[in-house]
Amino acid sequence: MRLVIAAQNISTFSEPWWKVFYDFSLLTKNIDTGLHNAMSPFWTTVTEMLIIGVLILLFYALVGLFLVYAERKVCAFMQNRLGPNRVGPFGIFQTIADLIKLLLVELIPIKKADKFLFNLAPFIVIIASFMAIAAIPFANGLHAIDLNIGVLYVIAVSAMGVIGVLLAGWSSNNKYSLIGAMRSGAQIVSYELSVGLALITVVILAGTMQFSEIVEAQRTGWFIFKGHIPAFIAFIIFLISSTAETNRGPFDLAEAESELTAGYHTEYSGIKFAFFFLAEYMNMFIVASIAATVFLGGWMPFHVGHWDGFNSVMDYIPPFIWYIGKTFFVIFLMMWFKWTFPRLRIDQLLTLEWKYLLPINLVNVLVMAFVVLMGWHF
């Protein structure tokens, strides 16, 4: 009953409906006041959390399915193939068919595995990526939770996934899995540093860790242009180390198909494997959207100096499209890496981090601090 009242409140909308696409806070505020009028503050919060949870879950599943399809198509085109083309037009329902197959596949119990941890591991991996997605601003006003330490939160939460990977490798009682898990541990612990320092470079420039403010600060120009050379270097380093952090591309040592068959998820089947699979793609989406938010202006449209006509045309494109476009551009870059380069060896991976990325990064942070101090940025 109360929900009906709330819905009635929402339907009385003062602005034209298409304005919502440019400022989602109109809609969210409307829903919020509607719910507040209908029920107590506690239940309002509960209802809002439920709505957001369901929406994020839906978004998560849709993006995951689309990314799997996109990856298969992108790699196919790079390899002179057609990719999936049987299920539906251009094979767009291929991933849904695969998902149904994975749901129906038998979950093979491993005799000597640590049952509890073995079953827990996929959930830890997927929960970590769920939590990270909450702090990402999708568009103007479309933001599940705007923490004042958003950057820190995302780094902390996305690193939690490695616990799941380690548990998966250890508990399946398989020698290949264990090697994969240990590699993954060493890899993520090292590359966390680079991800953190690359983001800190931008935090220095923005002067805040809150995502909404970081995006707002890029209204006059994206950070990758604003902070010129140091910001560009930080972007490259972030791209490399986030690829490593998501166990992808030339850094997929934890899976390392040709060495360890499938690494840490060798023993998983059915929906548990699907969790790992989905989490890998969602992690890719998360790091890509952080890169888009922090370096490429988030949902801010592309503006050039004093070209007012051009800028107003760019403003007509809704912020959500800008955000999705930038994110998929970064994802495309990561796919491009993966399907071009051979895999690194574990010691080279660590050498790359500790001998190249970390020193460059530290110097870069200093340079950025100097640039900000002298006011040389735009």
């Binding site: 390899q79 002179n80 491009w336 071009t340």
Partner: protein, 159 residues
């Protein structure tokens, strides 16, 4: 200073070599005309095999249902895997003589290695390769084929 220069040079050369690789895959990504995939079951009608393609051994018959096989058994001897078996019979010719002729030319496709020795060694050119390549069947027994058609006869003039 020298070492810093070398360090930077190493980094930049490495990045350059990676970019060259990305150029190759990227150029293929943006030129879909170079895709080589054949949509196989859809292009089945247009698919033309080369005329020498060794699909399976057949015995060509003419329109009068006549073949050239005399039943001499040379192909059976030449086959390295024993995939050919010839069952012959004796028939009476028009002028009353008894003559050996072929009853069944059994060819086991499942054992054939397509070495072409039977086709090559046949003295009367009775065997040939067809361009058929879709051999899958649901029953193994269907792979044992009798090459001479029922009621077929030896072509006139072939000894």
């Amino acid at each position: 200073m020298r070492s810093i220069y070398n360090y930077l040079k190493e980094v930049l050369m490495g990045v350059w070599s990676l970019l060259k690789g990305m150029k190759v895959t990227g150029s293929y990504f943006f030129s879909p005309s170079k895709i080589v995939t054949q949509k196989y079951p859809n292009n089945r009608n247009k698919l033309v095999m080369f005329d020498r393609f060794k699909g399976e051994v057949i015995m060509p018959h003419n329109e009068k249902n006549e073949h050239k096989c005399t039943g001499c058994g040379i192909c059976e001897i030449n086959c390295p895997n024993g995939s050919i078996e010839i069952i012959s019979k004796t028939i009476a010719t028009e002028d009353g003589k008894k003559k050996r002729a072929i009853d069944k030319h059994i060819y086991r496709l499942s054992m054939c290695t397509f070495c072409a020795l039977c086709v090559k060694s046949c003295p009367s050119n009775a065997l040939a390769f067809s361009q058929e390549f879709e051999h899958a069947v649901f029953n193994r027994a269907l792979l044992i084929k009798v090459l001479n058609k029922p009621g077929s006869q030896l072509m006139k003039g072939v000894e």
